[in-house]
């Protein structure tokens, strides 16, 4: 119910916002938030920080580009009804494979392994021409047709991203209550104990990574329709760090944190250059992010909920006295 309180106003926003705010700020934030959600999910429920969620999103994005319409003449066009499930399955398979590789690693080691996978994929896309079209990548990747336009137009893509984001949040909340989701959290708390209960830890780890691949892949598909292109740049260091920052400033306590982080990051990224001398705008972004992390070590979402609680507590007290 409380999600409707958020979703309904957000569904009405296209009535008041221009295309720039709708697509460049909100849609972009929803897409980045969805990809960041896959990272928050892993960090919160499996206790593993993965640097390769952008890679998983990229796998789905490249699949859409390779098996869909593009203007670079690479790939095999397939019907949409095949392409989308295929892209999601490939992202999940890539996630599962990554989980299998990282199954014995935690903390800094998991970060190193996933970072290595992410960077290896980045360089691979740059140098492979048969599947990834090298440095240039794919352009002209148009979203499916919708009436006179297509799903990539500002309003349709905004609604699509909003629905996908809502579904992904719902999926995460459902997954963590399922038996497999319980096992994933058990791996986080006491892997040896789960083993002693007769449940091998590899299965929940691989499942959690595959599930994160589904979430990241959904974001990756939206992203390629949003950008109408995908290239090595889409899976490089920049996006990897962006997604990490979004997850951290949003906070890992609640799945919606990723979206709060994303909107803050996107607004900052777009408008910082207007606020300060153009030599230094990245410094401003860095300082603001640093301040957020110092002021809200558990993320903005936590800061907001704590603040709301305090306000409510204060109000309650003043009523009683």
């Amino acid at each position: 119910m409380k999600y409707l309180l958020i979703l309904i106003p957000m569904a009405l926003l296209p009535l008041v916002l221009n295309d720039f705010w709708l697509s460049q700020v909100l849609t972009r934030a929803l897409i980045m938030g969805t990809i960041a959600l896959s990272l928050s999910f892993l960090a919160t429920y499996l206790g593993v920080v993965s640097f390769a969620q952008v890679t998983l999103a990229g796998v789905a994005g490249y699949a859409i580009a390779y098996f869909g319409p593009n203007t670079v003449g690479v790939g095999v066009p397939l019907p949409l009804i095949v392409t989308i499930p295929l892209a999601l399955i490939l992202a999940m398979a890539a996630g599962a494979m990554m989980g299998y590789i990282a199954r014995r690693s935690r903390g800094i080691y998991a970060i190193m392994i996933t970072l290595a996978i992410g960077v290896a994929f980045f360089y691979f896309t740059r140098q492979n021409y048969v599947l990834f079209n090298g440095f240039t990548g794919f352009s002209g990747v148009i979203a499916p047709a919708l009436g006179e336009g297509n799903w990539g137009d500002p309003k349709p893509l905004y609604f699509l991203s909003l629905i996908v984001a809502a579904i992904c949040v719902g999926l995460v909340q459902g997954f963590v209550r399922s038996p497999l989701g319980l096992a994933v959290q058990a791996v986080r708390d006491a892997p040896g104990r789960l083993l002693a209960l007769g449940i091998p830890t590899t299965l929940p780890i691989v499942a959690a990574f595959a599930f994160s691949g589904l979430i990241a892949g959904s974001g990756g598909i939206l992203n390629v329709w949003f950008q109408e292109r995908v290239s090595s740049f889409s899976v490089g260091f920049g996006p990897i760090i962006d997604i990490l920052i979004i997850s951290v400033i949003g906070g890992l306590r609640h799945p919606t944190g990723a979206f709060v982080g994303a909107i803050v990051y996107v607004v900052l990224d777009i408008f910082a250059i207007d606020l300060i001398d153009r030599d230094r705008f990245n410094l401003l972004i860095g300082i603001v992010l640093l301040l957020i992390i110092v002021a809200a070590p558990n993320g903005l979402t936590q800061l907001i909920t704590d603040g709301a609680k305090k306000l409510r507590g204060g109000a309650a007290k003043s009523r009683t006295t």
């Binding site: 106003p9 916002l17 221009n18 697509s23 700020v25 290239s231 740049f233 250059i273 030599d279």
Partner: protein, 412 residues
């Protein structure tokens, strides 16, 4: 609740950031102001500012409002920057971007905004204007192939090289540069037995160094900045001394001022470029002097980026003057002026466009010389006038050769 608050503040912000008043003409500028290209991207902005200053900061009584946005060399960032300029800042004219892949992305984007005119900054990919051009994307400058004009002929006819190996980075701009070199060199009778494509930012060239055939007369090196330094150092240290031919961004100040042991190898090496820092034509001398006066803290001389962004912005100013600053027809009249625009470019030649809205330019063959103080510099040895995008060939023949790639052209 918190989403609502964000939404409300978002609305408030968007109201505050409405497009500028009708008295102003907003020109968006996209350049790379972060990462490895930041210093060069800044120089591009200087070029735009100089062109606006030349016009007195206004056109037909309309103030020019420059809005600068940074990209990061990625196509995605260039597209995001352009959308912001168009949709948020209300820019009808954009000058930029800086690098090749960004240019291709903005060419594609321009189709979605037929009322917006995009004038290329310094991006040099060939297909930005050659294949599938966009009616509202202009390039008042050359592509990477045009920037090599004259070098292939010079290497074959004057230096007497018959066989040249190629070492270049593996992406669109070097492909285009290699095409520019090879189309002349192969036509003159030279051969290129082998090409080596290396990733950007590569540190270890040993496998390339030892694979280069021993019997080549020279190596055409189309690597940028630190990649060029790494390759040349490792090549020289391996004991080889085959002469070098440089690409447009190979022989830059980082390479020349490096005191590495390969410097002797470079003396006499030719390269192709549209911008020679100490060119002695009166137009360039005046341009360089204006640059030095406006930007005492700038680079020693206007770079290729200041030069090209200047030309793009200058075209925009001239076009706006011709239509009296009136873009109310979706820029159609403005673009009609640009199509036939001719102006004297800073190097002295006359800038004009071909039917694909790509510049017909002057290009230079330069060579590395040892200056009196022992340091290395460059000297223009030849100016090639009126280089068009097909490098003097018939358009049909040129297009029939297929898009440039690792394997095209080929003359082993």
């Amino acid at each position: 609740m918190k989403h609502l608050k964000i939404a409300v503040s978002a609305i408030a912000l968007s109201a505050a950031a409405m497009p500028a008043s009708s008295e102003e003409i907003t020109i968006g500028v996209i350049s790379i102001l972060e990462g490895a290209f930041a210093a060069l991207g800044q120089d591009g902005i200087r070029g735009v500012e100089m062109a606006v200053a030349d016009a007195g900061g206004s056109v037909a009584g309309n103030e020019i409002n420059l809005v600068v946005v940074s990209s990061d060399a990625s196509p995605d960032s260039a597209v995001a920057a352009a959308r912001r300029l168009i949709e948020q800042d209300g820019a009808k004219i954009i000058v930029g971007p800086l690098s090749g892949s960004e240019g291709l992305a903005l060419r594609d984007l321009s189709r979605s905004y037929p009322d917006v005119t995009i004038i290329n900054g310094s991006s040099g990919a060939q297909d930005t204007t050659l294949r599938d051009p966009s009616p509202n994307f202009y390039r008042f400058g050359g592509d990477g192939a045009q920037w090599m004009a004259g070098v292939g002929t010079y290497a074959h006819d004057t230096l007497g090289y018959e066989k040249v190996a190629v070492v270049a980075e593996d992406y669109s701009f070097p492909y285009t540069q290699v095409l520019g070199f090879m189309s002349e060199f192969c036509a003159a009778g030279g051969t290129v037995p082998e090409k080596f494509w290396t990733p950007i930012g590569n540190a270890d060239y040993s496998s390339v160094v030892y694979s280069i055939p021993q019997d080549v007369d020279a190596i055409f090196v189309a690597l940028g900045g630190s990649d060029a330094v790494s390759f040349l150092t490792q090549y020289q240290q391996a004991g080889f001394s085959t002469p070098i031919i440089g690409g447009s961004i190979t022989i830059d100040q980082t390479v020349l001022s490096s005191d590495a042991s390969f410097r002797d190898m470079l003396i006499g090496a030719p390269a192709g470029t549209p911008t020679v820092s100490d060119y002695d034509s009166p137009e360039w001398v005046a341009f360089a002097a204006a640059y030095a006066e406006a930007y005492p803290d700038g680079l020693g001389a206007p770079s290729i980026f200041a030069h090209h962004y200047y030309m793009g912005a200058q075209a925009a100013m001239l076009g706006l003057e011709a239509v009296g600053g009136d873009l109310s027809d979706g820029g159609a009249a403005f673009r009609a002026v640009l199509d036939d625009l001719e102006f004297i470019q800073p190097t002295g030649g006359t800038m004009r466009l071909d039917e694909n809205r790509n510049g017909i330019v002057d290009n230079f063959v330069i060579e590395v010389v040892e200056l009196d103080d022992g340091s290395l510099g460059t000297r223009a040895i030849q100016v090639v006038k009126d280089v068009n995008q097909t490098l003097g060939q018939d358009l049909e023949t040129f297009l029939a050769a297929g898009p440039v790639s690792r394997d095209n052209p080929s003359c082993p």
